[in-house]
Subunit: 223 residues, 2 copies
Amino acid sequence: MEEMVVANRKIPRATARRLPVYYRYLNVLLNANKKRVSSTELSKAVQVDSATIRRDFSYFGELGKRGYGYDVENLLKFFRGILNQDKLTSVALVGVGSLGSALMNYNFHQNTNLRISAAFDPKKELANTIKSGIPVYPADELVEQIKDQQIDIVILTVPASQAQKVTDQLISAGVHGILNFSPVRLSVPKDVQVQNIDMTNELQTLTYFIESNRLNAKDEQEK
Amino acid sequence: MEEMVVANRKIPRATARRLPVYYRYLNVLLNANKKRVSSTELSKAVQVDSATIRRDFSYFGELGKRGYGYDVENLLKFFRGILNQDKLTSVALVGVGSLGSALMNYNFHQNTNLRISAAFDPKKELANTIKSGIPVYPADELVEQIKDQQIDIVILTVPASQAQKVTDQLISAGVHGILNFSPVRLSVPKDVQVQNIDMTNELQTLTYFIESNRLNAKDEQEK
């Protein structure tokens, strides 16, 4: 029941994006037989300041005790629940170009119940082959296979020109989450989640932060 | 002067990450000879709700007029300034494995002054070759080349075991921004910015949102 209440609570997207990071480090601690961890230790290991950690955790109620820190096993159990790590999550990858191929070789972290179970591409020479251990299906079997395999999450690595068309097919097949590597801003219904990974945007954001830091530093000096 | 004041202002990271998206769409509008745009139109095109757009823009002062919307050319000029798009930004890529190679083929969006000008890898057969139009230097020339070329931003696609070691070298060479594709949480000084792109985390975050949406929907039905 507790997970339900928790999952119902609206948490900021930035907090949600840090949950897997916490989860991963807690696994490291468990494997090292650590029983408890302070927010300062946690902060150092995951490179998130401890005020942010405490605020993130506060969305989920009282997870730690003042002066004691956090109980590793309890915390891990909690995160495993909210990240749905108790069952295997099969994802599909659509678009086996150079980026798609690279991602098919990707090693998911340990203790992660994620698996790419199918890939799709329109190229004739790829159809019905096994690549990096993953079956590649022809593009015209997309909807059927996604439905059959009950796949909920898709990694999208198709060219920009194809992105929206493929997205519409994925939604008609019942997909609820898209990790979008194409530069297109996808239009999706409200119950479908999109995470955009766009290298141009990421680099421009970095440029912005660097420039802004530099001007702040200059400003400090002039004070 | 205005850009300085603006860049000095602390804005949320989530806002900063949306700036390149706004910038890109404004270029599309300019090329289509559009003179002004409403926050509703902008919202539809970039798939960000209009309240968020208005809040994002409010960090930068009054950019639009009630009932008129935003002036495309002014807004574009403003974003070009804060994103530092008036000069060419050269970035380096470190680690020419399958992901690194895929990213070297990456087409940055149009109207983006970004360019990968150097790559680095320890593999002997890659050293001193040109790959996808980009020179690949041996790893032991990393610090020297980064300094010589005054590179400020690096795309890091090395194996986890090498990530921190290479990061330390990059920082000693004067790098201020790292787009980190390795699963390691890098330890860096305060004046260095890191953007992490970690597929495991992204997929786990998606899983979390989907599960949370599903429980919310169920909750609504039961009301």
